[in-house]
């Protein structure tokens, strides 16, 4: 089946032209720092108990997936991946969403739940994160598509 979204990158973190210009790296760093701060704040607001649902990470990952979907779809519809669109993608996408979400914490939390004899919760956390995350990405893309086509 043909790619209905040829303008969307396959990998949203791909540096444009595979060329790591300092300005791009700086944008990713800045966005990543802000995203990390937001995730850290969530972790402080909702700390994970040893046999508890990792709320902070779950919320960050799902929210980040939603935002990235909306951002990339919105930018792709706004034009080619250059100029301000490229800068916005690096800062808010690769940077912020990449920093806000985390795979490592997700993985370790699942392992620790198993260690704490909460394997069912670990599996539930796994499935929910992936499933709800994917739905969030789709909703983000759909929201941006609707917004852009109405413009």
């Amino acid at each position: 089946m043909p790619d209905e979204h040829p303008g969307l990158p396959v990998d949203p973190d791909e540096p444009e032209g595979r060329n790591l210009r300092p300005s791009g790296v700086a944008l990713v760093f800045l966005g990543g720092a802000i995203g990390t701060a937001a995730r850290y704040g969530l972790a402080l607001a909702a700390p994970t108990e040893s046999r508890g649902w990792p709320t902070g990470t779950f919320v960050a990952n799902v929210l980040g997936a939603l935002v990235l979907g909306a951002l990339l779809e919105g930018l792709a519809r706004a034009g080619p991946d250059d100029g301000w669109r490229l800068r916005a993608r690096l800062l808010a996408g690769t940077g912020f969403c990449g920093g806000f979400t985390t795979y490592s914490t997700f993985a370790v939390e699942a392992d620790l739940l198993v260690r704490a004899h909460a394997t069912g919760l670990a599996v539930g956390y796994l499935v929910a994160s992936v499933g709800v995350g994917l739905v969030a990405t789709i909703l983000g893309v759909m929201a941006a598509a609707r917004w852009r086509s109405g413009a």
């Binding site: 990713v28 720092a33 995203g35």
Partner: protein
């Protein structure tokens, strides 16, 4: 508390560095592997999970201060790895008619990352 705020600051900076490192690794992998399969993000998420596993294990064993996990773990590894990108890439694979590869990507990402983190936790004993 002053020490607490310093740790948070360092963690945030480390997160930025992690994101920048992800950007660099992503470019390096892409330059060598020409494929639609998201090998770069997969490699990043798995290696980041291994590192965080080790850090968490060290803290649990009392061999490392919690601040180190905050900065290198929550900070660097958190900024380095990414859930949003993996989710988006999964969707893109499915949109391009590669549902099988999308499912494989999810399974590999989850399975290998959890295994890597478990290995890290073990290694830190």
């Amino acid at each position: 508390m002053a020490v607490g705020r310093m740790i948070v600051f360092l963690a945030v900076v480390a997160g930025g560095l992690g994101a920048a490192a992800r950007f660099a690794v992503d470019g390096a992998v892409k330059a060598r592997i020409d494929s639609d399969f998201p090998w770069a993000t997969l490699a990043i998420n798995v290696t980041g999970s291994l590192l965080l596993g080790v850090l968490s294990g060290l803290v649990i064993a009392g061999s490392a201060p919690d601040g180190l996990r905050a900065v290198l773990g929550t900070g660097f590894c958190g900024g380095y790895t990414t859930f949003s990108t993996a989710s988006f890439e999964t969707l893109r694979l499915a949109q391009r008619g590669a549902a099988g590869r999308a499912a494989l990507y999810v399974a590999a990402s989850v399975g290998l990352s959890i295994a890597a983190a478990a290995l890290g936790l073990l290694l830190a004993r």
